[in-house]
C-alpha cells in the first residue's frame, strides 16, 4: 500500500502542477475545449485514484471541483471567481497531499466550506440562461454513454447503467434545488425532460447508501495489489483518445519513466569512478609500448566510457521551464489580488540546465517575478496615464551564452525609484549622504540587494517586507552565478541572472604551486603568460607588491604560493601568470607550472573547510589525486581587501565592498620632493621605469633619456625635486601614441585601491587637489600640467589633428572634469564644461554650437540618456557627434547608446580612447567640410 500511496502522491502532485498551469491558460482562453478536457481528465483521474485509495476528503474536493468544471464544459461562462475557487480547491488538495505525505494518512478536517462554495457556483451557473448557439453542440445522450465506455472503467468507478440504477434508488436530487433548475439544465444539455446530467447523477449516487457498497466491493475483488498500474493505463488510454480528438494542447508526449534521484546520483558517482579507472588503464598502456592485443579493446572501452559519461550527464539536465511552471499561476493570482493586468511571456523554456542548479534558482525566480508584478507593473490607471497599454508584461527569457545560462526577468513597469532608494540608503545608514550623491543610478540600484532594504511605501502581502532580494542574490551567488539589475525610470526594470550550466562538471586549468596541484575554473581564465626575469614579461615590484606589465597595462599579481601560505619565499619571479578576470577585476595568479585543462567533476567542500574563501570545491583528477578548486571570486576578494586587512572579510563588509567597488580607483602612490606623498590614477600611467641616472642626457638644460629608440623628455614631479644625475632614477612614463614623457619621482611607494575624494586646490595647476589615501594626505597630480612643460612636440603634433574644434564636456564629477579638461585643452580643443544636463542645456540654448559633445551617460539627477534623447529630438542637434563616457561599458549600454545614435562609448578612465575617438571625429568633420 505504501508504494501505491507514494506513486499516487508523485503522480498527483504532477497532475496538480499541470492543472494549475492549464487553469490559468483556460481562464484566458475559455473557448479552448482541448485545454478544458485536459484539465477535466486530470482532475477526474485524481478523483478516481483517491476513491480507490480510500481518501474521502480528497475525493470529495476533487469531485466538487470536477462538477464545476463539468459545467464549464457544458457552456457555463468562465468567470475569474470560479477559476479562483477551483485554484483554491487545488491548493487545499495540495495541502492535504502534503499532510498525507508526512503522516501517511489523510488529515482530519472538513472541506464543507469549499465544497459548498463549489456546489453553489455549479448550481448558480445553471441559472444563467445560455445562448442558443450552445445548443448546436453535439452533446447527445449517445455521446455521454460513449464517453464513459471509451474511458475504460477505472477501479472505483461505476458504469452509467449502475449510476442510473443508483439514481432510481436514491431519494432524488438535492432538496435545495428547485425543479426549475433541473429543467433548465436538462434543456440546455439537450437531455430528455426529467433526466439529469451525469454530474448530478454521480452526486446523487454518492449520497445514496446502496451503490456505495458496490463500488468498494468491486476493486476488492478484481484488484490484487498489482492494481497500481490500472489507473495509469486508463490514463494512457484516455490520453490517447483525447489526443485524437483534442487536436491542440497535449503535444506528443515523450516516453518517460520515473527514476529516483539517488539512483541517478549513484550512477553519476559510478561513472566518475569508471572514468578514473579508464584513465589509469590508459596510463599503463602508455607506459608499455608493447601491444598484447588489448589496446584496441581499451580504445573501445575509453570511447564507451566517454559516451556513458555524456549520457549520464544528460539525465541530470532539465529544461528551465520546470522551474517556471508555477509562475503563470503566481502572476494570475497576483494580478487579481493587486487589480493589475499582467501578461507573463516566457521564452526559452526548453533551455536545459543541471537539476541541481534548477533547484537553487526556482525560488529566487518566483520571488523576482512576484516583485516585478508587485513593484514593477503599475495599476491600469497609472499605466494609461503614462501612455502605456493597460496590460503590463513580465517577460522571462532564458538562453545559453558561453558556458553559462542567462535568465532575464524584465517588466515594462515604472522602473526603480532611484530617489527613494537613495533616501532609504541614507536613512538606513548604509552610505553617507556625501557618498550617495556621488553614486550613479546603476550603483544605487544595487542597494535593493541589500539585506532588509525595501522602498515599498506599504507592506503588501506580496512583497515589500524587505526580505528576499538579498536572499535571491545570496542564493544565486552560492552557485557561482551573478545577478544584475538595469532599470529605466518609467520604462521598466530588467534583472539579468547568469548561472553556470552545471555545477557538476566544469573545465578547469590544472596548475601547480610548490608541488601541489590546484584547479582553476576555465571560465575565469583569460590568458596565460610565461614570466621569467630578463624576459619580455617579468614580474616587477612596487614596495614588494608584484605587478606585471602586460600590453601597456599594469596587472596586479597574486602568487598562489603566498596566498596559500605554501612557502615563505616572497619574491618568486618565474613561472606562469594566469590572467584572471572576475567581474570588473583583473589580476594575475602566479603559479609554478601549468599542466592541461581537464573536465572535472566538482565535489563540494567539507563543511569543516567551507570557511576558506579560496576554494570553491574539490575534485578527483584522472590519476586519482584529490585537487582543490581555486575560487577566483575568493581570490579577487583577497586582492581587493589588500594588505591592510588580511583577515577574511565577513559578509557585511563584503556587501559594502561590493557597493563601493565601483567607487574605488587604483592609484599609484609615489614620493615627490620634500617627502611629499603624491598619487596619480594608475590607469593614466603607461609604464614604470627605473633608469640609471647617468643615461640621462641634458639637452639645453632639459633632461631627456633615450627610451625605446626615441628621446623622451623628463620632468620633475615638483619644483622641490631635482632630476638625479647619478644613481637610479624612478620614472612614471606617460605615453600617447608615439610620444612619451617621463615624470621623475623620488620613490614609487605603492599601488592602492581607494575611494577617491579629491579636495580641489585652485592655486596650483600641477595638482588636481589633495585626497586622503590610506589614511594619509596625498596630493593628486595633474598630469596635463606637465605636458606643455616638456612637449612642444606633443602639442605640435596634436595641433595638426584638430582645427580648434569646440567641445562641450558634461560630467557630474568634478574629479573627472578636472582630469579631462587639461588633457582635452592640451590636445587643442576649446572646452566648455557643464556639471549637469540642465547646465548643458542652458549652455546650448545660449546659442553655442560645439562641434562635439562628450557626456557622462550617468549624469546626476537625470540620466545621460535622457539628455541625449532631448538633444536628438532637437533638429539643431540631431546629428551632432556625441561621445558617451561611462565607468563600465557593457553590451547593453552600448546597444542603448546605438539607439540614441551616440557616436562612441568610451570608458571614463580610458583617456587615450577618448582622444582617439575625438581625433577620428575631427578627421571626419574635416572630410565632410
Amino acid at each position: 500500500m505504501d508504494d501505491l500511496l507514494l506513486e499516487f502522491l508523485t503522480e498527483t502532485s504532477e497532475h496538480l502542477e499541470t492543472v494549475d498551469v492549464e487553469m490559468v491558460r483556460f481562464e484566458q482562453d475559455p473557448n479552448n475545449q482541448a485545454i478544458l478536457s485536459n484539465i477535466f481528465r486530470l482532475v477526474h483521474t485524481i478523483k478516481g485514484t483517491c476513491g480507490f485509495l480510500g481518501l474521502p476528503r480528497l475525493e470529495a474536493l476533487a469531485h466538487a471541483a470536477e462538477t464545476l468544471m463539468g459545467k464549464f464544459r457544458d457552456g457555463m461562462p468562465v468567470t475569474t471567481s470560479a477559476v479562483s475557487l477551483i485554484l483554491t480547491t487545488l491548493d487545499r488538495i495540495k495541502d492535504i497531499l502534503g499532510e498525507l505525505e508526512r503522516h501517511g494518512v489523510e488529515p482530519q478536517g472538513a472541506d464543507d466550506d469549499l465544497i459548498e462554495a463549489l456546489d453553489r457556483m455549479s448550481n448558480a451557473g445553471a441559472y444563467v440562461p445560455e445562448p442558443v448557439a450552445h445548443r448546436a453542440k453535439p452533446t447527445t445522450v449517445g455521446t455521454l454513454v460513449h464517453q464513459v465506455l471509451e474511458r475504460e472503467l477505472k477501479p472505483g468507478e461505476v458504469s452509467l447503467d449502475e449510476l442510473e440504477r443508483a439514481f432510481q434508488e436514491a431519494p432524488g436530487p438535492d432538496s435545495e434545488e428547485t425543479s426549475g433548475t433541473l429543467v433548465y439544465q436538462v434543456l440546455e444539455r439537450a437531455l430528455k425532460p426529467g433526466e439529469v446530467s451525469l454530474d448530478e447523477l454521480e452526486r446523487a449516487f454518492r449520497d445514496a447508501p446502496g451503490p456505495d457498497q458496490i463500488a468498494p466491493a468491486k476493486p476488492a475483488v478484481v484488484a490484487p495489489p498489482a492494481q497500481a498500474r490500472p489507473p495509469q493505463k486508463a490514463q494512457g488510454a484516455t490520453e490517447a483518445s483525447e489526443h485524437g480528438e483534442g487536436g491542440e494542447g497535449v503535444a506528443g508526449k515523450v516516453q518517460t519513466i520515473r527514476v529516483n534521484v539517488d539512483t541517478l546520483e549513484h550512477l553519476m558517482t559510478m561513472v566518475s569512478e569508471l572514468v578514473l579507472t579508464r584513465n589509469q588503464l590508459l596510463e599503463i598502456a602508455r607506459r608499455n609500448s608493447e601491444d598484447y592485443g588489448y589496446k584496441v579493446p581499451l580504445q573501445r572501452l575509453s570511447q564507451v566510457t566517454a559516451e556513458l559519461q555524456d549520457g549520464v550527464m544528460k539525465t541530470r539536465m532539465q529544461p528551465i521551464g520546470n522551474a517556471w511552471q508555477k509562475l503563470p499561476r503566481v502572476v494570475r493570482d497576483l494580478s487579481n489580488e493587486l487589480s493589475k493586468q499582467i501578461d507573463l511571456v516566457m521564452q526559452g523554456a526548453d533551455t536545459e540546465l543541471d537539476r541541481q542548479v534548477l533547484e537553487v534558482i526556482k525560488d529566487p525566480l518566483t520571488h523576482m517575478v512576484r516583485n516585478s508584478a508587485d513593484h514593477g507593473i503599475e495599476s491600469p490607471a497609472e499605466r494609461r496615464a503614462a501612455g502605456k497599454p493597460e496590460k503590463g508584461v513580465i517577460r522571462l527569457n532564458a538562453y545559453h551564452e558561453g558556458g553559462s545560462i542567462t535568465i532575464e526577468i524584465s517588466d515594462d513597469g515604472k522602473g526603480l525609484n532611484y530617489a527613494a532608494i537613495r533616501k532609504k540608503a541614507v536613512e538606513r545608514a548604509i552610505v553617507s549622504e556625501v557618498e550617495i550623491e556621488r553614486m550613479s543610478d546603476a550603483q544605487v540600484g544595487k542597494f535593493i540587494f541589500h539585506p532588509g532594504f525595501s522602498t515599498a511605501a506599504a507592506v503588501t502581502s506580496v512583497s515589500g517586507r524587505g526580505v528576499g532580494m538579498d536572499v535571491v542574490k545570496t542564493n544565486i551567488e552560492l552557485i557561482g552565478g551573478t545577478v544584475d539589475i538595469r532599470s529605466e525610470p518609467g520604462r521598466g526594470t530588467t534583472f539579468t541572472i547568469k548561472i553556470p550550466l552545471t555545477l557538476a562538471i566544469v573545465a578547469a586549468l590544472i596548475v601547480s604551486s610548490k608541488d601541489q596541484r590546484f584547479a582553476i575554473p576555465q571560465v575565469a581564465v583569460s590568458e596565460l603568460v610565461r614570466v621569467s626575469p630578463a624576459s619580455e614579461h617579468s614580474i616587477e615590484r612596487i614596495n614588494g607588491t608584484p605587478i606585471l606589465r602586460l600590453r601597456e597595462r599594469l596587472l596586479p599579481i597574486v602568487p598562489l604560493s603566498k596566498v596559500m601560505r605554501l612557502s615563505e619565499i616572497e619574491d618568486v619571479d618565474t613561472g606562469f601568470v594566469v590572467v584572471t578576470q572576475v567581474a570588473q577585476q583583473r589580476f594575475g595568479i602566479l603559479v609554478d607550472g601549468v599542466f592541461h585543462t581537464e573536465e572535472i567533476v566538482v565535489k563540494p567542500m567539507s563543511s569543516k573547510l567551507r570557511h576558506i574563501q579560496l576554494f570553491s570545491g574539490n575534485t578527483i583528477l584522472g590519476d586519482g589525486a584529490v585537487v582543490l578548486i581555486v575560487d577566483p571570486n575568493g581570490l579577487a576578494r583577497m586582492v581587493g581587501s589588500g594588505a591592510q586587512n588580511n583577515e577574511f572579510q565577513n559578509d557585511v563588509t563584503l556587501d559594502q565592498a561590493i557597493a563601493a567597488v565601483e567607487e574605488l580607483t587604483s592609484l599609484l602612490v609615489f614620493r615627490g620632493g620634500g617627502n611629499s606623498l603624491k598619487a596619480v590614477p594608475l590607469s593614466l600611467v603607461t609604464r614604470l621605469e627605473e633608469i640609471d641616472a647617468s643615461t640621462i642626457e641634458w639637452a639645453s638644460g632639459r633632461p631627456v633619456v633615450q627610451y625605446r629608440g626615441r628621446l623622451m623628455p623628463i620632468v620633475s614631479c615638483d619644483e622641490d625635486l631635482e632630476v638625479r644625475r647619478q644613481g637610479m632614477q624612478s620614472l612614471l612614463v606617460f605615453s600617447d601614441g608615439e610620444i612619451s614623457m617621463g615624470l621623475a619621482v623620488a620613490e614609487i611607494v605603492d599601488i592602492v585601491e581607494d575611494r577617491l575624494e579629491v579636495e580641489l586646490l585652485a592655486e596650483r595647476s600641477d595638482l588636481v587637489g589633495s585626497a586622503v589615501v590610506r589614511g594619509k594626505t596625498t596630493e593628486i597630480v595633474n598630469i596635463a600640467h606637465y605636458l606643455p612643460l616638456v612637449l612642444e612636440t606633443w602639442s605640435r603634433t596634436d595641433q595638426r589633428a584638430k582645427q580648434g574644434n569646440s567641445l562641450l564636456l558634461v560630467d557630474g564629477s568634478n574629479f573627472f572634469r578636472d582630469m579631462l579638461v587639461p588633457v582635452l585643452k592640451a590636445s587643442g580643443y576649446r572646452v566648455h564644461t557643464a556639471a549637469t544636463a540642465q547646465d548643458a542645456a542652458r549652455y546650448l540654448s545660449s546659442g553655442a554650437q560645439p562641434d562635439f559633445i562628450v557626456t557622462d551617460l550617468e549624469l546626476p539627477g537625470n540620466s545621460g540618456f535622457a539628455f541625449i534623447a532631448t538633444l536628438r529630438a532637437d533638429t539643431q542637434y540631431r546629428s551632432i557627434p556625441i561621445i558617451g563616457l561611462t565607468l563600465r561599458p557593457d553590451p547593453q549600454l552600448i546597444a542603448l547608446a546605438r539607439r540614441f545614435k551616440i557616436t562612441e562609448v568610451v570608458s571614463k578612465v580610458d583617456r587615450r580612447g577618448l582622444l582617439s575617438a575625438l581625433a577620428e571625429l575631427s578627421g571626419s568633420l574635416e572630410e565632410a567640410a
Partner: protein
Amino acid sequence: MTMNAMNTVAIGTPKNFSREMEFITVTVARQLLGLPIGRVHDVFVVSEMTKVPLAQAEIAGLLNLRGRVVTAVSLRSRLGLEDDGKAGRRMAVGLENQGEAYGLLVDEVGEVLKLDPDEMQPNPVHMDRRWVNLSQGVHQLQGELMIVLDVDAVLAFGAERDPVQ
C-alpha cells in the same frame, strides 16, 4: 590482521548478544583508544593525501577513498599531540558525521573488543581537558587502559580554531 578481515568485521552489523558493546581499538602515541563499532564504516591505509592550505590544524588533508572525497582528521592533533611526522604507512578509520565522510588518522588499528558498558569508569579527574572532552570513559583491560572515544566530540571542531598551543 589483514585489511580484509578488518573490513568484514567493521561493516557487519553489531550483534548485541548481551549488553556488551564492541569497540575497534586504535593507538595514538602508544595510548589505546576505542571507537564504538557502530560508528566505524571501514578501516583503510592512507596512500595519497592532499593538503588543504589555510585549513585548521586538525585537518590533515583530503583523501580519495574509492571515488569519494574524505576529509582526513588527525586524531593526534585533536588530542593536542605533536604530529610525529612519520611518512610511513598511515592508517585511518572511516567515520560518517552529518552525511559527510571523515577519515580519522591514527598510528595503528588494533582489534575488535567486546566490553560490558557497566565496567566503564569515568575519566580520571586530572586528565588533560582536551582528552576529557573527547572521552566517554575508561575501560580497564589487562595490562592497559582503553579510552572510549566520543566520535561526535572528536569531529566537533569548528572553523575557528583555538590559538595555536
